[in-house]
C-alpha cells in the first residue's frame, strides 16, 4: 500500500515540475510567438480566404475618393463574383499590391470601359457568351450605331448576381422595345430552364446521399452554358430550333440520374434486410440467453 502511495506522489510531483518547466520555456522563448501568430491567427480556421482587402478596396473605401465610387466595394461584396473570388483587377486590370502603380496603364489598368466596349471588357473571361452576343441584334446595334444594350444593361455592373431567367422581364426589355419577342423567347426557354434546374436539384440530392456526380455535374453545366449562350443571340427561331436538341441531351442525363436513384433504393433495401437479420439474431440470442439463466 505504501509503495503505490509513494509512486503516485512521485508521478504527481513529476507532472507539476514538467508544467512549470515548459511554462518557463514558453515565456522565455520569443520566436514561437510568431509561429503562433502565423499558424493560429492567420491560418484559416474557418472562413475561406476571400479577398477582403487590397489597394483598390483600401482607396475606394477611404474619404479620399468621390462618394459615388465609395459604394463600389460594398456592391461588389454582394456579388456572385465576390463569392468566387473574382477581384477588382481581374476585370479592371492594374496592380492591387502596388499603391503607386495600381492604376497605371502599364500594368493593364482599364478604368470605366466605354459603353461600346463593355462586351469585350466582360468577354475577357466570358468568351463564349461574347461570341453569341456579337452575333445578336443587340450586339450588332451596339457595334454599328453605338447604341444598344450591353452586358451591364441587363446584368448590372458591380453587384452581379447569378444569371437567371427572371432577367428577361417586361420592365427591363421595354426600356428599349416592346416585350413581345422577348416574351416568346422566354416562353421557349422556360421549360428547358425548368428541366435544367430539376436536374441540378436531383444531382445535389444524389451528392448528399453519397453518389459522386462530378461527371454529370460537368455535362449539365456545359449543356446549361451552351443553352444560355444560345439565348444571347436573341434569335427566337434559333432558340426554338435547337431546344429539341437540348432536351435530348438533358434527357440523357436524367436517365443516368434515375439509374442512380434506383441504385440508392436498392442499397437501402439491401442494408435494411441485413439490419432485420441482426434484429432477429438479437432477439433469438436474447431469448436463448434468458432460458439458460
Amino acid at each position: 500500500m505504501g509503495g503505490s502511495y509513494y509512486m503516485g506522489f512521485l508521478l504527481m510531483r513529476y507532472l507539476i515540475s514538467m508544467i512549470i518547466f515548459f511554462s518557463l520555456i514558453s515565456i522565455s522563448e520569443g520566436g514561437w510567438k510568431d509561429v503562433f501568430k502565423k499558424e493560429f491567427l492567420t491560418a484559416p480556421w474557418g472562413k475561406g480566404p476571400k479577398i477582403e482587402r487590397d489597394v483598390c478596396i483600401e482607396c475606394h473605401t477611404s474619404e479620399m475618393i468621390k462618394s459615388q465610387y465609395r459604394e463600389i466595394p460594398s456592391e461588389w461584396r454582394k456579388s456572385w463574383h465576390y463569392e468566387y473570388r473574382v477581384a477588382c483587377h481581374d476585370c479592371h486590370g492594374g496592380d492591387p499590391r502596388d499603391a503607386e502603380k495600381s492604376m497605371s496603364p502599364e500594368r493593364g489598368f482599364v478604368g470605366i470601359p466605354k459603353h461600346k466596349n463593355v462586351p469585350e471588357f466582360c468577354g475577357k473571361c466570358h468568351i463564349g457568351i461574347l461570341e453569341n452576343y456579337l452575333e445578336s441584334d443587340h450586339g450588332k446595334a451596339l457595334k454599328t450605331i453605338g447604341k444598344g444594350p450591353n452586358c451591364v444593361t441587363c446584368h448590372g455592373s458591380h453587384n452581379i448576381q447569378k444569371a437567371s431567367i427572371a432577367i428577361i422581364n417586361e420592365g427591363l426589355c421595354t426600356r428599349c422595345h416592346s416585350y413581345e419577342r422577348a416574351k416568346s423567347i422566354k416562353a421557349t426557354l422556360l421549360l428547358t430552364e425548368k428541366k435544367i434546374k430539376e436536374i441540378y436539384d436531383s444531382l445535389k440530392t444524389l451528392r448528399s446521399r453519397l453518389i459522386y456526380t462530378e461527371d454529370d455535374d460537368k455535362i449539365l453545366f456545359r449543356t446549361h452554358v451552351e443553352f444560355r449562350a444560345l439565348f444571347h443571340t436573341v434569335d427566337v427561331n434559333l432558340v426554338k430550333d435547337r431546344t429539341d436538341e437540348f432536351s435530348k441531351r438533358l434527357s440523357a442525363i436524367e436517365v443516368r440520374v434515375q439509374k442512380y436513384f434506383q441504385e440508392l433504393e436498392f442499397r437501402q433495401n439491401f442494408t435494411g434486410i441485413i439490419m432485420f437479420i441482426f434484429i432477429g439474431l438479437c432477439i433469438t440470442v436474447f431469448l436463448l440467453g434468458r432460458k439458460s439463466e
Binding site: 468566387y84 475577357k124 473571361c125 466570358h126 468568351i127 463564349g128 461570341e131 455535374d217 460537368k218 455535362i219 453545366f221 456545359r222 452554358v225 449562350a229 434486410i273 441485413i274 437479420i277 441482426f278 432477429g280 439474431l281 433469438t284 440470442v285 431469448l287 436463448l288 432460458k291
Partner: protein, 136 residues
C-alpha cells in the same frame, strides 16, 4: 425443450443468412470490373491532321482532341475543362486550348496556363501504327 431447439434453429438460419448476405457482396466486389469502352478502338490516318492541326474525337463518351504538335508529335487531351466542365477549344494561333466559359487556358501539354481551372486536362493513351494513330 422444444422451444429451445426452435430458437437454436432460428439462430443458425439467421446466422447463415447474415453470413451469405456478406459473402455475395464480397464475391461481387472481387469480380473484375468491365473495362471502359473495351474493344472500341479508334483509328485515324496521320495525313488527316496537318502539323498544328487538330481533330475532335469522342473516347469512351468523353469529348477529346487529337493535336499534331510541331516538333513534339501527337497528343490526345480531354476537352472537358477541369474547372466546371465546359469544352475547351483549340486555338491554332495562340497554340492554346481555351475554355469559352471562364477563359481558362491550357498549353498543348494540357497544363493550366491561366484562369480558374484547378488542374491539367486529362491525357489519353494512343499508339502510332504506321500511317495511323490508334486509340484503345
Amino acid at each position: 425443450m422444444k422451444r429451445r431447439r426452435f430458437l437454436k434453429l432460428l439462430t443458425s438460419i439467421l446466422g447463415v443468412s447474415a453470413l451469405s448476405a456478406f459473402t455475395y457482396p464480397i464475391l461481387r466486389f472481387l469480380t473484375p470490373l468491365k473495362a471502359k469502352g473495351k474493344g472500341e478502338s479508334i483509328i485515324i490516318a496521320k495525313r488527316e491532321i496537318p502539323i498544328e492541326g487538330a481533330k475532335d474525337l469522342v473516347i469512351g463518351g468523353v469529348p477529346a482532341v487529337l493535336i499534331n504538335r510541331k516538333d513534339k508529335g501527337y497528343i490526345i487531351l480531354s476537352k472537358v475543362c477541369t474547372h466546371l466542365g465546359c469544352l475547351v477549344k483549340y486555338d491554332k494561333e495562340k497554340l492554346l486550348l481555351i475554355c469559352p466559359c471562364h477563359a481558362g487556358s491550357f498549353d498543348l501539354e494540357g497544363n493550366v496556363v491561366s484562369g480558374p481551372p484547378p488542374k491539367s486536362l486529362e491525357k489519353f493513351q494512343f499508339r502510332i501504327e504506321g500511317d495511323n494513330v490508334r486509340i484503345g
